[in-house]
Symmetry: D2
Subunit: 423 residues, 4 copies
C-alpha cells in the first residue's frame, strides 16, 4: 500500500487533458443555467403543502436546466460512451464533483444525483435487457428517480451480513418482508424503484446469503412510513425514509445478477459514490474555512479582530493543512479505482471514507465556535453543514468499519512483505 508497492502512476493526480473541456463546460452550465434558478426554486418550495412534494413551477425550473444540459451535451456525462466504452475516469470525476458540490441543484440538472448514478451503474453492468428497458432507460432520461434499500433499524448495519429483510421464492415471485430506514431519495414523489438488499439464501456461507432485488415503490405491501430525521431535519423532499415491506411480491426476474450476489454488486457501487461524497465534504470544509476567516476578521473583541485572538490562526492553519491532505487522499483513492479497479482500490476508498467526514466535522465545529451563538442559528449554514457531515460518519458503513478494512489490509500487507517483516 505504499509507494514501493503501488504503481508509480498512482501518484499522477492531474486531471486528464481530455476532460478539462468537460470541467469547463460543467462550470459554465452551473454558472449560466443552475445558479440563476436556485433562489426561485427555493422560494417556490416554501409554499408547498406537503413537504414531500414539489410546488407548482419547481419541477419546470429543473426541467429547463436539464434541457439545457442535454443541449450542451452534458447530460449523463458520467456514463461511459456507449460505442467506445470509454468514459470519465474516477479521478476526472472527482474534479468534477468539487464543482457539483457548489450548487445543490447542479447534480440533478446533469442527471448525476445520488443514489441514481450508483443504481444506473449497477443496472448498466448487471441488468438484463428487460431490466434495462424498464428501469435504466427512464432513469437515463431523467424521467424517474430511484433509491437503494440497504440499512435496517433493528440490526447493526456496520456488519452487512446482519441484513434481515427476507425474500422467499414462492412460485414465480419473491415474497419480501422486512424493514428499512434511512433510504435516501425515497421521499421524492418521482422515485419509482428501489434496489433492495435482501437475504435470499440464509443457509449459504456468510458472504453469499444476500441478494439485490428490484422493488417498485408502488408494490402492494411497501409502505413509506415517514421520514427519518437527521438532527431534527427531514431533508424533504429528497428524504431519508423509513419503509416497511410486508409480503411484498415481485416477479422472480427482478433479482439482479442472481441469488447470493448482493455483496458483489455492492462492490460495484460503493466506491465511486463515496469518492463523490468525500469531494463534496472537502468542499464543505473549504466553505467552513472561508466563513471562519470572514467572521474572524469582521468581529472585534478586546480591541482586536477575533481572528488574532488565542488559537484561531492556528485553527485556520490546521484546517488548511488537513483540507489539502484530504484532497490529495481522495484524488489518490479515485486514481486507485482507475488503476487498480474497484475491488483492489477498496482499501483506498475505506481510507478516505474513514478520514474525511471526521476531519471535516471538526473543521465545521471550529467554524461554529468562532461564530458564537450565530454559528448554531438559522442565520448560518454551519449547523446544516455539521449535521450532514456528522451523518456521513455513519452512512455507508460507520468509520469503525472502514478503519477495520484498512487495518486488516495493512496487517496482511505486512505479513506478506518479507522486507518489512525482517526489519
Amino acid at each position: 500500500m505504499d509507494i514501493t508497492t503501488t504503481p508509480a502512476e498512482m501518484n499522477d493526480l492531474t486531471m486528464s487533458e481530455k476532460s478539462r473541456p468537460l470541467l469547463e463546460a460543467v462550470k459554465q452550465h452551473i454558472r449560466d443555467n443552475v445558479d440563476p434558478i436556485l433562489e426561485e426554486f427555493e422560494r417556490l418550495g416554501q409554499g408547498r403543502a406537503d413537504r414531500f412534494s414539489y410546488a407548482p413551477g419547481q419541477l419546470e425550473l429543473l426541467e429547463g436546466a436539464k434541457q439545457k444540459a442535454k443541449e450542451a451535451g452534458l447530460w449523463n456525462f458520467f456514463l461511459p460512451n456507449a460505442e467506445t466504452g470509454e468514459g470519465l475516469s474516477n479521478l476526472d470525476y472527482a474534479y468534477l464533483a468539487v464543482e457539483l458540490g457548489k450548487n445543490p441543484l447542479a447534480s440533478e440538472t446533469l442527471n448525476c444525483s445520488a443514489p441514481d448514478t450508483g443504481n444506473m451503474e449497477v443496472l448498466e453492468r448487471v441488468g438484463t435487457p428487460e431490466q434495462k428497458e424498464q428501469w435504466l432507460k427512464p432513469l437515463l432520461e431523467g424521467k424517474i428517480r430511484s433509491c437503494f434499500g440497504m440499512t435496517e433499524p433493528h440490526v447493526a448495519s456496520s456488519d452487512a451480513r446482519n441484513i434481515e429483510t427476507s425474500a422467499v421464492l414462492e412460485g414465480d415471485e419473491w415474497v419480501i418482508n422486512g424493514e428499512k430506514y434511512y433510504i435516501s431519495g425515497a421521499g421524492d414523489p418521482r422515485c419509482k424503484i428501489m434496489i433492495c438488499m435482501v437475504k435470499t439464501s440464509p443457509d449459504a456461507e456468510a458472504w453469499r446469503q444476500q441478494s439485490q432485488i428490484l422493488v417498485p415503490m408502488d408494490a402492494p405491501g411497501l409502505t413509506v412510513v415517514g421520514p427519518m430525521h437527521v438532527f431534527g431535519h427531514d431533508d424533504a423532499p429528497h428524504g431519508h425514509m423509513h419503509i416497511t415491506l410486508e409480503n411484498v411480491r415481485v416477479p422472480k426476474e427482478n433479482i439482479l445478477w442472481g441469488e447470493g450476489r448482493g455483496f458483489e454488486i455492492s462492490q460495484l457501487r460503493l466506491g465511486p459514490g463515496r469518492i463523490h461524497h468525500c469531494m463534496r465534504s472537502i468542499g464543505a470544509a473549504e466553505k467552513a474555512l472561508d466563513l471562519m476567516i470572514e467572521r474572524g476578521q469582521s468581529r472585534e473583541a478586546f480591541g482586536r479582530p477575533i481572528l488574532d485572538l488565542g488559537k484561531n490562526m492556528e485553527t485556520i492553519s490546521r484546517a488548511r493543512i488537513e483540507i489539502e491532505a484530504m484532497r490529495m487522499m481522495v484524488l489518490k483513492a479515485a486514481k486507485a479505482m482507475d488503476v487498480l479497479g474497484n475491488k483492489e482500490a477498496r482499501v483506498w476508498v475505506s481510507m478516505v471514507k474513514a478520514m474525511v467526514p471526521e476531519k471535516v466535522c471538526k473543521i465545521i465545529d471550529e467554524a461554529i465556535q468562532i461564530h458564537g451563538a450565530t454559528g448554531v442559528s438559522q442565520w448560518s449554514e454551519l449547523p446544516d453543514m455539521y449535521t450532514k457531515q456528522r451523518t456521513l460518519r455513519l452512512a455507508d458503513g460507520p468509520d469503525e468499519v472502514h478503519h477495520n478494512v484498512v487495518a486488516r489490509a495493512e496487517v496482511k500487507a505486512y505479513n506478506q512483505d518479507p522486507y518489512r517483516r525482517q526489519e
Copy 2:
C-alpha cells in the same frame, strides 16, 4: 488556586446534613408529582396552533404540580430564609440540580427555572422596594416569568464591553434602542419582564459603561421578531428570541442599582446559574453513557456485541473517568462560591464552564457513533442532547473567554507566589 493556597474546607464536598431531607423531598416530589404528568403535558402540547403558546390543559397540569410543591414547602426553596437570611449553599444546590435535570418540568414546578432564579436573585439583592413589589413578588409567586437581555447579534459577545444597545435619559425616561438575540425564555407567553443590559454611559471607563434596566415585554417599541434556532430547533414555547428595541421608553426608576453597575450585577447572577447548567450537563453525560452501554450490549456485529468491538470499552471507561472528574470540579466550584464568595470563586466557575460542556459534547458524540444512523434520528434523544450541549459552549461566554479568565488568574497567582517563582 491549589491545595496549598485554598482553604482546606474547600475539599469537603459532602452535602450538608441539614439539606439532605430537602434532597429527599425534592426527589419525592418529582417522582410523585412531576414524572406522572410529563407524558400528558407533551401530548397536549402537540395540539397547539402557535408553537409559542400553551395548549388548553397544559398550564393546568403545571399549576397542579406547583400547588403540590407549595404544600410540601418546597416552593422557592432556592431562596434564603427571609427571617434568618440562611439559605441553601451553592454546594447543596448543586446536588439538587442533578435531580432537577432529570425531568424537564421539575424546575418550573419548584419555581427555580432559568433565567427566573437569576433574575429573582438580582431583584432580591439590588432591587428597590417598588421594583420588588412590581416584579419580584409575582415572580416569587410563579405568576409571571422573565428573561435576561444580554447577547447581541452584531458584536462579539465574548467581550461584554461590546454591548451596543443604548439607553439615553430623556427627562424622566430611558429611551432604549438596540437589538438582542438568543434571549431565552422570551418566547413564553407568560414572560412579562426583561432585565436588559444596556450602554448608558459611553464616556465612562470601559467597565462602567453598562447598566441593567427593567423593560416590560409589552413596552411599545419592543418587538419579538421571532425565535433563534439551535441546529434547527426553536425550543418552543420557551424560545431563544430575537428582539428589537426601537425608542422603547421606560421610567427612570427602572434602572437597577444605578448607572454603570451592569457588570457588577452580572457577577451576582452568573456563577450559580453556570453551576446549575454544568450539573445538568453532567446528567446528560450520564444519560449518554447509559445509552451507549444499552446500545452496545443489544446490537451484534461480526458475532459479538458491538460493545466488545474496537475501542468501545475504552470509550466507556474514558467517559466514566471524565464524568467523575467533572462532577468533583463542579462541586468544588460550588463550594468555592460558598467559601470564597462569587467574586473570588469566579475562576473556579470559569474552570468548570470551560471544561464541562466541551467534554460532555464529546461523550454524547461518541454515544451517537455507537448508535449508528439511529443516533442522529428522531428515535434517539442524543441529537437534541448534543445540540443543547454544543450551544452551551457558546452561551454565557464562549469557552475561549473562560479559558482566558483561568489563564490570567493562573499567571497572576504564579507571579505572586515567591515559592513557585523561585523553583
Copy 3:
C-alpha cells in the same frame, strides 16, 4: 460508582485534623534536613566509578538525615501504630505524598521509598514471624532495601496471568527459573531481598496459579544482567534491572501466605503505591506549568512575550483545569480505599492510574514545546520529567488494562441498576 451509590462521606476530601501536624512536621524535616544535603549528595555521586554504587560520603549524608527523621518521630510514619493499629489514612498519605515528591531524597530519609513501603506492608500483613524477623525488621530499620519481581520480558504483562517464571517444589526447596526485567530498586547495592511473582500451580484455575516468594538477591543462580533503560536513562543507582533466575533454590518457607495467593497479595500492595505515584505525577504537572509560565513570560517574539502568542494562554488554562480535576480524582481514590477498602476501591484506583500519567505527559510535552530547543536539553528538567511520566503509562499495568477494569465495572454497574436500565 456515582454519587447516588457511593457513600456520601467519599466526597469529604479534607485532610484529617489529626494528620495536619504530621504534614507540617514532614515539610519542616524536608526543609531543614533534606533540602540542604541534596546538592552535595549529587555532587559526590558524580565521582563514583560504578554507576550502581554510592560514592564515599553519600550514604553518610543520607544516614544523617534519616537519624534526624527518627529523632523527630517521623521514621516509618506510614506504618500503623503497633499498639493501636491506627495509622495514616490513604487520603492523608496522599497529601503527604505531594510533599515527598518535591525532593528526590525525601522519601528515603523517612523510610517510605518505593518499592520498600509496599514490600513492608505485605510482609507486615501476611509474613510469618520468621519472615518478619529476617526481612521486615531490617527494612523497618532502614538497614537494607528490597525489590519486587513482577514484569517479564517475554510475555505481555498487561495480563498478569502470563507470568512464566516457574517455581517448582523439590523436597524442602523451591527451584525457580525465569527472567524478570524492569525490577526497580534492584540496582542499589543495599537491595538484599526480592519478593518475586512466580507460577507455582500451573494446573490451578487461572487466578490461582501464581504465588509470591522471597528470594535473597545473593541467592546462587540469580544474576542481575544489567540495567534496563528508560528513553536512554538507567536511573542509577536505584535502577530498573534485568534479572535472570537459573535454578535458584530457596527454602520452602519463603513462600508468602501460601501457594496460589499471588494475586491476592498484589491487591494489597498496588492501590496505595499507585495513589502515591499519581500524587507525584500531579506534582510534576504543577512543576511543568510553573516552567511554562516562567518561560512564556521571559521570552519575546514578534514584539510580545511568547505567553501571549497563539494558544499558549489556553494551554495554561487547560493545564490548570486538568491538574485540579486530577487532584480531586486522586484524593477521591485515596478516600475510596479508606472508605471501601482496597478491593472495592480498585476501580477508583484504575480510574486515576489510567487518567493521570497520560494527562501529565501532555502537560509536560506542552511545556517542552514552549521552551523551544532548551525544552529537550540537559538544561531543563522537562525531558526527564517526560520520560518518567511516559513510563508510568506502562508500569503497574498499561493504561489499556486499567481502562478495561473501569469499563467492565461500569457495564456491570449499569446492568445491576434497574433505574439506569429502564431509562
Copy 4:
C-alpha cells in the same frame, strides 16, 4: 493555495522517468556498500575514548563506501550538472530521501548529509570564487564537514529577528561575539567551517539586520563548550554543540552575498532540507507501524494477540491513513518548490513542517504503548525515534511559527479572492 489556483501540474507527483535509474542505483549502493558495513562501524565506535571522535577503522570503512559511490557516479548526485545546469528536482530528491533514511550512514557515503548539502548549495549559489575554492571544493570532495550557526540559547528562535550574535566591522575584519547552541554536526572532528548567522546591521529595518558569515571552527575565540542533549542523548560524534564566540575575528571577505542578506540566504537553504527531514520522518512512521504490527501479533493477553484488543487495530488504520496523507503532502511540497520556486513554495513547506513531525510523534508514541515496558527500553529503537521526531517539532522553527506562516498566507489568499469572499 487550492486546486483552483495552483498549476494543474502540481498534482503530478510521479517521479520523473529520468531519475528512476538513479533511484535504483542508490538503492543498490546502499544494499551493496552501506548495509554491510553498518554493524562493524557501530561496533568499532563503541571502543572510542572520546565520544566526539572516531575510533581507528571507522573512517576507513566510511571512505571505502564513499569511494564506491564515486566509482558508481553517485557522488554528489544532489548537485545540478555543472555543464547543463540540470539537476534533480526536489520531487525526485524526495523519493531518494526515503531510501537514504533507511541506513544512518547512507547519506554520508553519497556526500549528501545535513547540514553539508544546505551549506554547499548556499556556497554554490552565492559564494565568491575564493569562498568556493577554500570551502566548497573540500566539501564537494568530502574532505571536510561543516555546520550552520543559527539558534541561540538566550532568545526565542521562533522569531529569527531575535538573533543577537553580533558582528562588527573593525578595519578589515569582522569581530564576532555571541553564543550559539544546538549547532548540529559541530561535534564531528572533521567539521572545519561554520556558516554563522550574525547581526551586522542593527539599525537597518527588521528583516535586513542579519548576515551570514563564514567562521572557521579553529578561529581563536570560538569555543565548543560541549554537546547539547536531546532527552539525554548527545548524538555523538555528530553532536548538537554549544558554542561561544568571543572576539572571534574573520576577514571582511568572509561575509556571504553582502551585509543584511542573512534572511535571503536562509530562504535558499531551508526548503529542501525540511522536505528531506519530512521524508525521513515518514520513514520513521513506517518503521513504527511495522514494529506495532510485529509486536501486536507476537504477544498475547487475555487469550488473544494484543493486536486484536481494544483500539489497536484502529490505531493501525489511523497510522496508515496519516502516513499516506503525509507522504502526498510532502511530495506536493517538493513539487511546489519545483514548480513555484522556493519562495512561493514556502507555505507548502511550512504546511508539511507543521504537519509531519507532530503526527509522526503520535504514531511512534502509540507504537511504544503497544510494546509495554520494552517500548521505552534500550531493546527498542522507538525511544530514540521518538526523541528525534520530538526534537524536529522545535528545530528549524517550532510548529507554531509554521502554522503562523500558513495561516497568514491563507487569510491573504482569502482576502484576495473575490469568489471566496462573496460567498
